[in-house]
C-alpha cells in the first residue's frame, strides 16, 4: 500500500498553497494573548478562592468564639482606639470591625506577595 506511487504523486501535485508569510507571527501574537488571558483568569480565580476560604475561616472563628469560648481581649494598635472585648459584651460591633479589618489586611498582604512573586517570575 505504501508503494502507491500514483496516489503519492497526485497528492503532491495538488499540494496546497503555502500559508501567508506573516501567519506564524500572527498566530504567536494570538497565543501570547491567550496566555495572558489564562494567567489573568487563574489570578482572579486564586483571589476568589482565597477570599472565600478566608471568609469561611473568619466565620468559623466568630461562631466558635461566640458559642463556646468565654473570652476577654484587649487590643491596642497605633492610630486605633483601645478595644476591650469580652464574651459578655453587649455589642459585637467592635469585634466584627476588627475581624473585617483583619480579613482586608490578609487579602491585601496576599495580593502584595502574589504581585511580588509574579514580578520575580516574569524577570
Amino acid at each position: 500500500m505504501n508503494n502507491d506511487k500514483a496516489i503519492i504523486k497526485a497528492l503532491q501535485s495538488t499540494e496546497s498553497p503555502r500559508l501567508s508569510t506573516d501567519f506564524n507571527s500572527r498566530l504567536m501574537a494570538e497565543v501570547y494573548r491567550a496566555a495572558e488571558r489564562k494567567k489573568k483568569r487563574e489570578y482572579v480565580l486564586g483571589i476568589c478562592l482565597i477570599s472565600g476560604v478566608s471568609l469561611v475561616l473568619v466565620g468559623i472563628a466568630i461562631y466558635v468564639f461566640i458559642t463556646y469560648i468565654p473570652w476577654k481581649f484587649t487590643f491596642e494598635l497605633p492610630n486605633f482606639p483601645k478595644m476591650n472585648l469580652t464574651s459578655e459584651s453587649k455589642s459585637m460591633y467592635e469585634f466584627s470591625i476588627y475581624i473585617a479589618l483583619l480579613s482586608l489586611i490578609l487579602i491585601g498582604l496576599d495580593n502584595y506577595i502574589r504581585h511580588k512573586w509574579m514580578m520575580k517570575k516574569s524577570k
Binding site: D4, A6, I8, A10, L19, N24, V31, A34, K121
Partner: protein, 187 residues
Amino acid sequence: MRLIEYMNNQDEINYIERILAGETNLYSHFVNTYSNSIYSLIVRIVLTNEDAEELTQDSFLKAFKKLDTFNGDCSFSTWLFRIAYNTAISATRKRKMVFPSVDETMMESVPDEAIETFFDRDEGEIKLQKLEEAIVKLNVEEKTLITLFYTEEKSVAELARVLDLTSDNVKVKLYRVRKKLYVLMTK
C-alpha cells in the same frame, strides 16, 4: 517506538513542560514545525484557502489551551492532527458539505490485483489529473486518511489515534479508499 521518534517525543515533552511553566515563546517551535502540514490537511478538507488558514489558527490555539492535557502517549504531531481534524470536521458540518457516494456493488466487483498494479505506477498526465479529481470527491475522513498516510507518512496506529478508530478499521478504510478512487477514475 524507534529511538529517534522516542528522542523527538522526549524533546517535545520537554518543550511542553517549559511552555506550561510560562515560556510561551517556545510554542513557536511547534508552530514553525507543523503549521504547513496542518494547513495542507485542512485545506484538503475545507477546500478554500482563507477558511483553511483560519481553521489552522484555531487548531493551534485549541492545542495551546489544552496543552496541559497532552500526556505524551502519542507524538505531539498526532495529537495536533487530531485537534485539526476535529476542527475541520466541525467546519464542514456547519457548512453542510456534500460528497458523492459510490455504488457498493461496483466497488466489490473491482479485483484486488487491478488496484495494486493501477496505483503502483505513476505514468501519464491524464491518469494523474483523473486521480486528483477523484481525490477531491472523497469524503473528509477518506481525504484525511490518504493525506496523513501518503504525505505525512503516519503509521496505521497513529491514523487510528487521529481518527478515533481501531487499527484494523483504518486498514480496511485505507483499502476501501483505494478501491473508491479506482472506481471514481474508471467509471
